[in-house]
Symmetry: C2
Subunit: 344 residues, 2 copies
């Protein structure tokens, strides 16, 4: 039973393949230099003005403002592992911060690459809901600040690939069957032809850990947000989703027992190991997630598995332990967490 079933909410659509969807709007304040050229004072001024403009979104009771300059590296790491800030945002210097909704359905990075990057996040394939949410934030802010805007080029961004609408849609896709059937390269090629970026679980440069692939539009210029949304989220992503589902059914048809064997072995190892590296855990959780979606495993909730992909990261483990952990200590803590969470 998923948490949605428990709470009576509707199950998010396409959750078997789409872990989350996301919409992002990049904006910069008019009259102030881009972040990489701004002084500390100017960046501080960005923070104040954005906080004021986005007060209802960023400073409500259900939202936390995190001053990234003053928190510990571990706290930054945990935010990064939860996909609430980028690695760049975690690692860079100077005044910067992030507003995070309690339910993590929204985050606003301030002074990352652009002055403001507003994100809305939903489980499953719900791009419209995400887009409406960031659009509302953008509209709310527009009354209080002036965004850098060019008549011809649209919203200005630090990197030209984000100029124009400044909107990016992305979906975190779980594609274990396409990987097992070796059809993933086809998807990569198709994505390239369609001008989509394909990244790993932790964005640019990260490996496709756990067989997760973050697919997003590369172009934000030359079309409206609605056209982008329609093209990307209403046709391309559902196409990949169906492709993965076919591969899953093909695996079942071809050798159901071999697939069951794989799934049950991986679950058993996750439930029993005493030490485990993160890559191994991601890989085995991925197989188990496939098994849960195909109903090969009773009594393991999809929610539980989805949460573990983040909980097993080193930062989370150290936060949980309340101290820094050496690599061997992390491996032992990871195995213990998995045993606890997955034991029947």
């Amino acid at each position: 039973m998923t948490s949605h079933e428990r709470t009576g909410q509707a199950e998010p659509p396409d959750l078997d393949v789409v872990l989350t969807s996301r919409a992002r709007i990049a904006r910069n304040l008019s009259g102030l230099p881009f972040v990489h050229r701004a002084t500390a004072d100017q960046r501080q001024s960005v923070i104040s003005r954005v906080q004021l403009a986005l007060e209802p979104e960023c400073c409500s009771e259900t939202t936390t403002w995190v001053d990234l300059e003053s928190v510990s590296p571990l706290q930054r790491r945990v935010l990064y592992e939860r996909h609430l800030i980028s690695r760049q945002h975690a690692d860079q210097q100077g005044p910067r911060g992030v507003a995070v909704a309690q339910d993590e359905s929204m985050s606003v990075m301030v002074n990352e690459e652009d002055h403001v990057r507003m994100h809305a996040l939903s489980p499953g394939l719900q791009p419209h809901a995400c887009f409406e949410r960031v659009l509302a934030m953008d509209k709310a802010a527009e009354g209080a600040v002036e965004w850098a805007f060019h008549e011809r080029w649209g919203y200005q961004t630090a990197c030209p690939t984000n100029a124009g609408t400044g909107v990016r849609f992305s979906a975190m896709l779980h594609l274990p069957a396409l990987r097992l059937t070796r059809e993933l390269e086809k998807v990569r090629h198709a994505a390239k032809d369609l001008q989509l970026a394909v990244r790993g679980y932790y964005g640019e440069g990260s490996e496709s850990s756990g067989h997760f692939y973050q697919v997003s539009n590369q172009i934000t210029l030359g079309c409206t947000e609605e056209e982008l949304l329609d093209r990307f989220m209403s046709t391309i992503v559902p196409g990949i989703v169906e492709y993965e589902r076919s591969a899953r059914q093909a695996l079942l048809r071809r050798d159901r027992l071999a697939l069951e064997d794989r799934v049950h072995r991986d679950l058993a190892i996750l439930r029993s190991a005493r030490v485990m590296k993160v890559d191994e855990a991601m890989r085995r959780l991925s197989t188990v997630r496939l098994g849960v979606c195909l109903e090969l495993i009773p009594n393991v909730a999809l929610d539980c598995i989805n949460g573990l992909f983040q909980m097993i990261q080193s930062g989370h483990l150290q936060q949980q332990a309340g101290k820094s952990l050496s690599p061997p200590e992390s491996q032992a803590a990871r195995a213990e967490l998995l045993r606890q969470r997955l034991s029947g």
Copy 2:
């Protein structure tokens, strides 16, 4: 709890390393050619005379006579898998048979390489008990038959390596820690220097499946049985046993968590897999046996594991299924058996 604890019997000595000990006496009837030169009639005559001579041992209520010429290949295979007959005895042609005690502590192969090969088998390191038992059989038979005997060379056997006393002692040793610490080659070299033969779980030519090594004396000529027994079983084997125990303790000291990890992973896989080849099962059962002996696993009985090494063999699986099984069917049946037997 072992079956010995349950029944109140004393635990066999050195069961942590010595699966079984065995004494064997090879004898041939005087006045009849060796098996490989004997006609079918002569072999039949061997059978009749041996059955008569060994009546109390071979034809009692607790002993079964199996006519290997008339039983099915599967029945022969099962006897071979239980170490009650040799592969040669199973596969050769012509009149031949075996008397097997109900508790399998004794077997008498008739018309294998020699007319008679009497075996006594005990769990753990109990060579004296085994030797006394085969000696008693030999003495009992001597009243009724005349063994081929040469004043100078002793008891005559089909192969000269068995001539003299005709006695061979062997021990089935479980040496997983020496394998893990890569010290097994030292044991092999020492065994060679001491004129011992080292074979695998299924005797000559078989691989050291499950990290079992059957160690036996190669020479039966030029010394008394007592000297052989004393040298082989009272000094050499206990030496290897201590060597393996030291290696186990070294593994625990060096990285207890890594060893626990290995043991628990292998047990989990045995409890969960849907298909499994025999080699993999032997290997993982071996690790689990090590874990049980080192008390790293609660609630798994050593008896259960010891029994599984035979029960997972193809012949046993087919006998259990009551039909012949293809390799994939065997792999599925093996996995199912392991799940059943090892589930908490």
